[in-house]
């Protein structure tokens, strides 16, 4: 795992001999001064509400920011342990932070809750220590008071809404707005392009719901580029929710509301799974000294459900102003908003097609078409395959099977959901709906592109090609070769367990018996072929497939060289005779040490195959 970190923030200092240092690698973060490497514009909030934040809220925002920056600045890497079989995933962060309200933050139950919350989110170890803030601040400190204007439309609102600019938050906002609710929308702005899209969507919402008042509070938080090392960003939801809590405090709202569909919330949480939201609620209630609710009313909805909700508001055109891509600002495109390869893009496209709303989500907006675009090996292919596999498998399982196989996931979440008694069942049914939607959309996409798949013109690395078997494009002889391999692999080792065949002829006899017993139709030692001045014949043949099969027996006493020469000669002879050849190599004494090197020259030849049995 990566070396444990000691993270000094806001000018916090520790003597070199302090035991808190241990053997940890020290990093320093600051939002102030010449060495500022974290950029946080509290004035975004201050400006909106024309009052300062309380010291404790300012501390909360900075703590959340530093936690987030430490998360993305510390790569989950290092040597895999235990002979390369234990992934270096977990990290160990010890924070020492200068704060304005050290008496509050240093309480053990506050520190414990903070650590517990983050450990659940990030699977890392957290340890917090707080010191009085030494850095001077330019603003004069004064406590915030809610504006005295009783008619201010956002005073005492029920919830502030976390607004990402994606489909889920749009659905929640559109539904609330369609019921006439005034709304405070809070956004985190890490990159300029995301901000501009959010601003455009808010303008679109205001245009669509002119009778409703929308207050948008975007907050800039970013860091020096040199600090971007880890992409998992599990603590982002902590920063996001802290922003929400601070704005909720500013408008005296009862709480913070996330809108995130249940499939993502349980499996790939961006906003935080149900337990995380519960932990945020406990933490912010402590911080604010009053009850603060943090919830997600979409926990039982699939993404298709969410998209259909947008349609029920009567304004599906809003969809085209949303952006779901995880790579916003990281891929160059003037006109396209979606990369098409990340899980968020895939999920978006599937949901929109499942809801029948593709008119509001142009395929051309995706840099890589989700179904027919080429996916690079590694992350892109894995993401596509895993998404589809997960959905298709879910569609094939009964409710009981889902409840059993994914029991740990559901049991971890259900007690923090609304209606906990019925939550397990609802979560299971949600997953089935999701699986059915994925399968339905995939089936239709395969149908729409059937011609390209049939004639082999579909990109071999697109999602549809990765899904479709393409068996019809595989030569029949290869199918037959699979059968022969299976019979000999299964049958020969137990047959030779007590005594090895004396020679290659005996080996052939044994194999012949196995193949006949498995009703594999082959002709022994036929046909004869003239090559040069010699006649030669294969050990077995299936002439209707132009396939010959050659058995080779590798013994220590004979050496590998002899077999390699024989195979090379056969390749030449049989290749010239327009035959495909399957070489079967019996190597019970493990003479072949470097298997890849041995088989490569054979597999490089068109129409040749080889397998080794031991």
């Amino acid at each position: 795992m990566s070396r444990p970190r000691l993270i000094l923030c806001n000018g916090a200092e520790l003597p070199k001999s302090d035991t808190l240092r241990g053997e940890r690698h020290t990093v320093t973060f600051s939002t102030q001064g010449r060495r500022a490497n974290v950029h946080l514009r509290i004035e975004d909030i201050v400006h909106k509400f024309q009052e300062q934040l309380t010291p404790r809220l300012e501390d909360l925002l900075e703590i959340a920011t530093y936690v987030y920056v430490a998360d993305i600045a510390t790569k989950r890497s290092g040597q895999w342990a235990a002979d390369e079989s234990l992934e270096p995933w977990e990290r160990d962060h010890r924070f020492v932070i200068g704060v304005r309200d050290p008496a509050f933050w240093s309480q053990s139950h506050v520190k414990d809750l903070l650590a517990e919350t983050l450990q659940h989110l990030a699977d890392d170890a957290y340890d917090f220590h707080f010191q009085p803030l030494k850095q001077s601040k330019s603003q004069k400190q004064s406590y915030f008071q809610v504006g005295s204007d009783a008619d201010w439309p956002f005073r005492d609102c029920d919830r502030v809404v976390m607004f990402s600019g994606g489909l889920d938050s749009l659905a929640g906002i559109a539904e609330a707005a369609s019921h006439g609710e005034n709304l405070v929308l809070v956004s985190h702005r890490p990159v300029a392009i995301q901000n501009s899209r959010q601003v455009a969507l808010v303008a679109h919402l205001r245009q669509t719901f002119p009778q409703v008042k929308l207050l948008h509070v975007p907050v800039w938080i970013n860091k020096d580029d040199s600090l971007s090392k880890e992409f998992t960003q599990r603590t982002r939801s902590f920063l996001y929710s802290a922003l929400g809590a601070i704005v909720a405090a500013s408008v005296n709202a009862k709480g913070v509301r996330f809108f995130e569909n249940g499939i993502v919330s349980l499996n790939f949480p961006v906003s935080g799974d149900p337990k995380a939201l519960h932990d945020f609620q406990r933490l912010y209630s402590l911080v604010l000294g009053r009850d603060m609710v943090v919830d997600n009313p979409f926990i039982f909805l699939t993404k298709q459900d969410v998209v259909e909700l947008i349609a029920t508001t009567g304004h599906p055109s809003l969809i085209s102003s949303t952006c779901s891509c995880a790579h916003q600002g990281h891929f160059q495109s003037k006109s396209r908003w979606h990369c098409g390869t990340c899980s968020q893009c895939i999920d978006r496209r599937f949901a929109i097609l499942a809801a029948g709303l593709e008119n509001h989500d142009a395929a051309a907006d995706y840099k890589t078409d989700v179904f027919t675009g080429e996916r690079k090996e590694g992350y892109e292919q894995r993401m596509g395959i895993d998404y589809v596999r997960h959905g298709v498998e879910l569609s094939q399982l009964s409710s009981e099977e889902i409840a059993t196989q994914f029991h740990a996931l559901i049991s971890r979440a259900f007690r923090y959901c609304p209606d906990p008694k019925n939550a397990p069942e609802k979560l299971v049914e949600m997953h089935r709906r999701h699986g059915n939607a994925v399968k339905t959309v995939l089936s239709k996409a395969l149908g729409d592109h059937a011609a390209a798949i049939v004639d082999g013109t579909a990109n071999t690395k697109c999602l549809l090609s990765l899904v479709a078997t393409r068996q019809h494009l595989i030569a029949s002889w290869r199918h037959f070769a699979v059968l022969v391999k299976h019979v000999l692999r299964r049958g020969l080792p137990p047959l030779c367990q007590k005594a090895l065949p004396e020679n290659e002829l005996r080996l052939q006899e044994l194999c012949d018996g196995l193949l006949k017993a498995a009703a594999v139709e082959l002709v022994r030692e036929y046909p004869y072929m003239k090559w040069g001045s010699n006649l030669t014949k294969p050990d077995w043949s299936k002439e209707e497939l132009l396939l010959w099969i050659e058995a080779k027996y590798v013994r220590k006493r004979d050496g590998l060289g002899k077999i390699s020469e024989a195979i090379a000669a056969d390749i030449t002879k049989y290749g010239d005779s327009q035959r495909r050849v399957l070489f079967f190599v019996f190597d019970p004494e493990h003479v072949i040490v470097d298997e890849p090197s041995f088989i490569k020259p054979i597999l490089d030849r068109d129409g040749m195959d080889v397998f080794i049995v031991r």
Binding site: A81, A82, D83, E84, S85, L86, E87, W89, E90, Q119, D123, A125, R234, L266, N267, E377, G378, Y379, Q381, R382, I385, D386, V388, R389, V392, E393, A403, T404, F406, H407, A408, L409, S411, R412, F414, R415, P424, H431, K461, L466, V467, A468, T469, R470, I474, V482, K485, H486, R489, P493, V585, E595, P596, F598, I599, I602, L603, F611, I612, R614
Partner: protein, 267 residues
Amino acid sequence: MGHQRLGDIPKTQKWTAVVERLGGGGGGTVASATPVASVEKVSAEILFAAEGGLQQSINDRGLQFTFYLLTQIVLTARSDDWTAELAERGIRLHSDASVFDLTAEIQRLVSEDARTHGRVSTISEIAQQAACEAVAHLTKDKAATLFGSGRDELQQAIRKLSTKAGFSDLGQKFFGNFVARYLDFFASKILPGIASEHFRLQDYSNFRQALYMHCHQSAKIVHDFSGEWYSKTEWEKGITLDNSRGFIAVALEKLRAELKKQREAIQ
């Protein structure tokens, strides 16, 4: 499902060779034989490469504590006051608790223990998932339903696991699930990346089902051993976290050796 860990398999010689052997060579691809033959080879290849992690998992506090909790839950189910007995062990179940409540409590306690003794490890996560699935699987046939049963029905179902035979089933299920999920952890990083004309989505899905079945069948090697250990240890000295550690070490070694034997048989 669950928080994905998106890291790649290390690009070292060892793992590159595994990928090559699985991805297409004379040894065959995942789909180049029937699923049973393929899964034996794949699981054997991965186990061979990942043996170090499995051996080290014996020392994982999360795995040990999870298994220990299982023993305590089934043992206490014999008592007349299961609620009190569970409460002594930190497990809180209300009167209409379902099996989900029980497994939620297992996970809560394991997380709390991890915070005290370190942090939640990958092995601990796998162990919790294995335990939850084992409990859910074995109680669903015995409880009225996975959804909506009360604590009394739950106790009756768990009590059936408290016999020697019942704990044998639980041991086999737990260790089979554990090793399957451990191997799947690597398989999920390797298999989607194998670009072969023989390997497609349904092959991968079939493989995963076959993997679980294969590991469960292989775990039969610890079936009787689990019940014998449970019965004997509880009778002689009581089951503790310490002696659970010793049992886990032997059980995992038995299962590892069984899978290794299968690997040698197919080579």
